[in-house]
Amino acid sequence: MIEVEGLTRHFFSGRLGKERVEAVDEVSFNIKRGETLGLVGGSGCGKTTLGRLLLRLIEPTSGRIIFDGVDILHLKRREMRRLRPRMQMIFQDPDTSLNPRMASLESISEPLKLKGGLTRAEIEDEVSRLMEKVGLSPEHLGRRPHQLSGGQNQRVVLARVLASNPEFIVADEPLSALDVSVQAQIFGLLSEMKRDRNITFLFISHDLNIVRLMSDRVAVMDRGKIVEVGPTEEIFRHPLHPRTRELVSSASMDGQLTLMLKEGLISTVTRRPRPRMGGVCDDNPMDSKSSRLMINAGCR
């Protein structure tokens, strides 16, 4: 679905712009259709820049991006615009992801209007269907972002993104600006999208527990480079690169995830009997997502 080869983006900073910062440096990876690649790394390591590059929201310095067989960096503006709806982005801060001067109705219907060929009634129908899907009620239609909560705004963003009917979504820390309970709900919506629509995801996060729940494979980024890629469990159990080890060992079974489990809000997770205290996790090769999580929980 997505193939990236030697993708690089420099920024210039400092006096006279002489200092070159390599935000993304010779990055190569691929994501198969329907697959979710988790992208983890510390802050400032270039995760967000990489996400924006993939959608060509900013232009790379060099490299290749193949989306569904098309080299998008060689597309003309018009061709690129036609392709854009197929790849969408969810941003970290829901409060700035929406035009503050647009009501939810306008925001969600904009992609539909751009698509063209729909009557006003059809657009309104589609908007209310999308609103229902993401758990918003009709009363939210006329509200602007500052009249909605962060969680509600993120739902509007999801509805707007879904309105484009995308095949690929870059989710850039979509949960980290939200309250814990809201995180679980949005997480539920994202995994639903993944399951029902077979959407391919690049899931960017610094929260390894969420990445672990969401991703099929994980890429670890450090100072602009991808230092390790592999199947999720492989990465978590046998981290090779020192940076990966650091990240994995610092990720704890923190309160957020426990709470989600307790409230039964994560649909992909089923409860299992807790393993004996002190049970050796690595000797228990269960690979379904659900068991993985409980093993982890039992271990700590």
């Binding site: 924006r52 959608l55 929201l57 615009r81 036609r82 392709l83 854009r84 709806p85 790849m87 969408q88 982005m89 941003f91 970290q92 801060d93 700035t96 992801s97 929406l98 035009n99 503050p100 001067r101 647009m102 904009e110 992609p111 751009l114 602007r144 500052h146 009249q147 963003v157 707007r160 309105a163 484009s164």
Partner: protein, 274 residues
């Protein structure tokens, strides 16, 4: 005074001025340029504010003078806001070479003091009120470009603008639907304060004898009263009314601008409402 009542008061006074400007021919019995009485008469029933040295009715001139001042202020401000918003938005949105050229030109223009430049240009072109407002608009617009540009620069990097680009919106749509509405509150406030400044500048030009000689304006009234004995003879009804008219209009626009400032940030409005 709360911003809301400041806004209402400013709007009310400005509305009254506009009404006077539109209806001055109905309100006053005399033409502002006709010689209708004895020169230098004091206030009376027939001439509310007396007559000037030529025997023209001062009250009529005062009311008719509203037109020139409002036209100069509002037209000049409209032009300047149009120029600064258009150029500032394009400059910041496209960046690169376009931006570089525009920013450098503005830097050069900004080193020129605008009032003296206006004086010279007004003399160079014939001093009609439309030429004056046009010059003010273009000169003042260049000053505003920087402010609008910096606002747009931060908007271009906003997530929702990236989002709009991602759904396949074109440059024009992004600029008109996503950027402009978010610049508009700032542009409106700029407009009001620009109107205030240009109005005062227009009166200043009139006072210096560079106003449009074919129209009645307050600056020329004050200038005439000053140079033809109004001041020396203590004829307050000749000198004071145009001064008060200018001051009050200026205050009205200041109040309006102050009241509008909260519009820049929609969040400010919410906190006021609570």
């Amino acid at each position: 005074m709360s911003r809301k009542s400041a806004f209402s008061a400013g709007l009310f006074i400005l509305g009254a001025y506009i009404l006077v400007a539109l209806l001055s021919s109905v309100i006053t019995p005399y033409s502002p340029t006709a010689l209708v009485g004895r020169p230098l008469d004091g206030p009376s029933d027939t001439h509310l504010l007396g007559t000037n040295d030529l025997g023209q009715d001062i009250f009529s001139r005062l009311l008719y003078g509203t037109r020139a001042t409002l036209i100069i202020g509002l037209l000049g401000a409209l032009l300047s806001v149009l120029v600064s918003t258009l150029v500032g938005t394009v400059s910041a949105y496209y960046g690169g070479g376009v931006d570089e050229v525009i920013t450098r030109s503005v830097d050069v223009l900004m080193t020129l003091p605008s009032f003296p430049l206006l004086l010279v240009l007004t003399i160079f072109f014939a001093p009609s009120i439309f030429v004056i407002s046009g010059l003010m608009g273009v000169l003042g617009g260049t000053q505003g470009i920087r402010i609008i540009r910096s606002q747009v620069l931060s908007l271009v990097e906003a997530n929702f603008v990236y989002g709009a680009k991602a759904i396949g919106a074109g440059d024009l749509r992004i600029m008109t639907r996503h950027i402009l509405p978010n610049v508009l509150p700032l542009a409106t406030v700029k407009f009001v304060f620009a109107a205030q400044r240009y109005m005062l500048m227009g009166v200043g030009l009139g006072f210096l004898g560079l106003g449009d000689p074919s129209v009645v304006d307050w600056g020329q009234m004050i200038s005439r009263a000053y140079y033809n004995g109004g001041f020396a003879l203590g004829l307050w009804w000749w000198l004071i009314p145009p001064g008060i008219a200018v001051t009050l209009l200026s205050v009205a626009l200041a109040l309006l601008g102050y009241g509008l400032e909260e519009e820049i940030d929609p969040r400010l409005k919410r906190s006021v409402a609570i």
